[in-house]
């Protein structure tokens, strides 16, 4: 075997997973901007529709919608994405659903992402 031949080990699994979480502070409200109303009858697992901009909106795929705040990357390229219902329902961090952006390197391993973030 020459020195520059790649060796793929079928038992090696899927490599490694690296997860990163960014939570940004709420943006300073502009004078005259509407104040968010608090929903008093919200169920524990209920995800409210997003109307306004969240602190991470400008970093997300759609500037107006700002939906895919959990992204799964391979070599830095997005291969899959989830909206913030993953943060509420899978991670159980409902108060962090708006200001959080989460990246993970492996699109196949959502469960792995959940485990690492919950225990990290």
């Amino acid at each position: 075997m020459t020195a520059n031949t790649a060796v793929l080990d079928p038992t090696a699994g899927f490599g490694s997973i690296t997860i990163q979480v960014v939570v940004l502070p709420r943006k300073v409200e502009k004078p005259g901007a509407p104040i968010d109303e608090i929903t008093l009858d919200q169920e524990p697992d209920e995800v409210l529709p997003e109307d306004g901009a969240s602190p991470v909106t400008s970093y997300l795929e759609r500037p107006k919608g700002g939906k895919l705040c959990c992204v799964f990357l391979v070599n830095g390229q997005r291969h899959d994405g989830l909206d913030n219902s993953f943060i509420v329902q899978q991670l159980g961090f409902k108060y962090l659903r708006n200001p959080t952006c989460l990246t993970s390197v492996n699109p196949l391993k959502r469960a792995e992402t959940r485990r690492v973030v919950r225990t990290g």
């Binding site: 020195a3 520059n4 979480v21 895919l68 830095g76 997005r78």
Partner: protein, 363 residues
């Protein structure tokens, strides 16, 4: 009066200038009119015998990937932004592959980089791009930012709009290894073929990501020149072709075809000085359909590309309908820079990278 036959545009050096300057379908239409092309009704490519009906000395439309049924795969993406991200990835790979080939010329036993990031660190001295804003050593951070700026010049995406024709043009240019003219049909114009699968330092595997851009364009011009150090005895020339959608008369199966000069699919080439077209590859997509108009495209493209290439292994420049480029380092870099700013301003936030963990086959 001279009895010499007029020299075809195909033989004239000015053809390269015309291809490089073409900005609209009308410009390209003029070029195509002046070329000796056998149109679709005069020649139909067949996988079994492509030379039947071939007229030597003239150009013919040959299916991309030499696959008559290529439309399904080329039109699969159905989304106008992602093919550009795929082409940018190809450009990054071309830059890495050139560096790898130069390394092997110096040391034939040099081991392969283990991953694209490993390659970028070894050849260009760049770490993960999102780690750069958080480097506390100011001198080191500035040196890396300078290196980022230099690297960006080697890979660019330019979008322009012709008001007269109401058409977008998208150009993706890399100054990487490029392809020899006689291999363009097997590489840049192939579908589902790849020579990257055994190279862990490259990114793509399936060999067709960027081809969806053909579906959103009326015409695409492809030009490529191999880096002089990597010619391996081949002629130093610029290979070129044009890709378009062919709708055969009386049939329901359109396909995408390119101009070939030989029945085996090889494309024509032009001998030109490197100053006119340095090594690397250029894809020009004419009358590109973004599904929307005007400056909204420029704004959307910035976000869409930064999100798809969230933390790219190499940076690139985006000229989105303006003379000055936007630095495209990925959304992860922007987030890291914002977190750094908040840290300096002592504003409460969280920027938490978890330790890398192995992932097994079973959950």
């Amino acid at each position: 009066m001279s009895d010499k036959a007029p020299v075809s545009l195909l033989e004239q050096p000015r053809l390269l200038s015309l291809l490089l300057e073409a900005k609209t379908t009308s410009d390209l239409g003029q070029i195509i009119k002046s070329l000796p092309i056998v149109d679709e009704s005069g020649y139909t490519w067949s996988a079994l015998d492509p030379s039947t009906g071939w007229q030597p000395g003239r150009l013919h439309w040959v299916p991309v990937g030499r696959d008559r049924g290529n439309a399904g795969r080329i039109q699969l993406a159905g989304e106008p932004y992602n093919p550009h991200a795929e082409r940018l990835i190809n450009g990054m790979e071309a830059l890495i592959e050139l560096a790898r080939r130069l390394e092997l010329l110096k040391d034939p036993q040099a081991t392969m980089p283990e991953s694209p990031r490993d390659a970028v660190e070894r050849y260009f001295g760049l770490p993960r791009l999102d780690s750069i804003p958080r480097i506390s050593d100011k001198a080191k951070r500035r040196a890396l930012e300078t290196q980022l700026r230099e690297m960006r010049k080697k890979l660019t995406l330019r979008v322009e709009f012709s008001k007269k024709q109401n058409e977008f043009i998208v150009e993706i240019r890399d100054h990487g290894i490029g392809q020899p003219a006689d291999r363009i049909h097997e590489t840049l114009l192939s579908l589902g073929q790849t020579d990257k699968a055994d190279k862990p330092y490259l990114i793509g595997v399936f060999g067709q990501g960027g081809s969806s851009a053909y579906a959103a364009s009326d015409y695409s011009i492809v030009l490529s020149r191999r880096a002089p150090e990597c010619l391996d005895g081949k002629a130093d020339a610029v290979g070129w072709t044009v890709v378009k959608k062919v709708i055969p008369k009386g049939r329901r199966d359109p396909y995408y075809a390119y101009l070939a000069t030989l029945p085996d699919g090889r494309v024509p080439s032009i001998v030109a000085p490197p100053s006119q077209f340095p090594h690397g590859t250029l894809f020009k997509h004419l009358a590109y359909d973004f599904g929307r108009q005007g400056s909204a495209v420029a704004r959307t493209l910035y976000y869409a590309l930064n999100h798809v290439l969230f933390n790219p292994v190499l940076p690139y420049d985006l000229y989105a309908m303006k003379a000055d480029p936007d630095a495209m380092n990925g959304t992860a870099h922007r987030l890291a820079r914002q977190a750094r700013r908040l840290e300096l301003d002592r504003v409460k936030h969280l920027y938490k990278p978890f330790q890398s963990q192995p992932v097994g086959n079973a959950l």
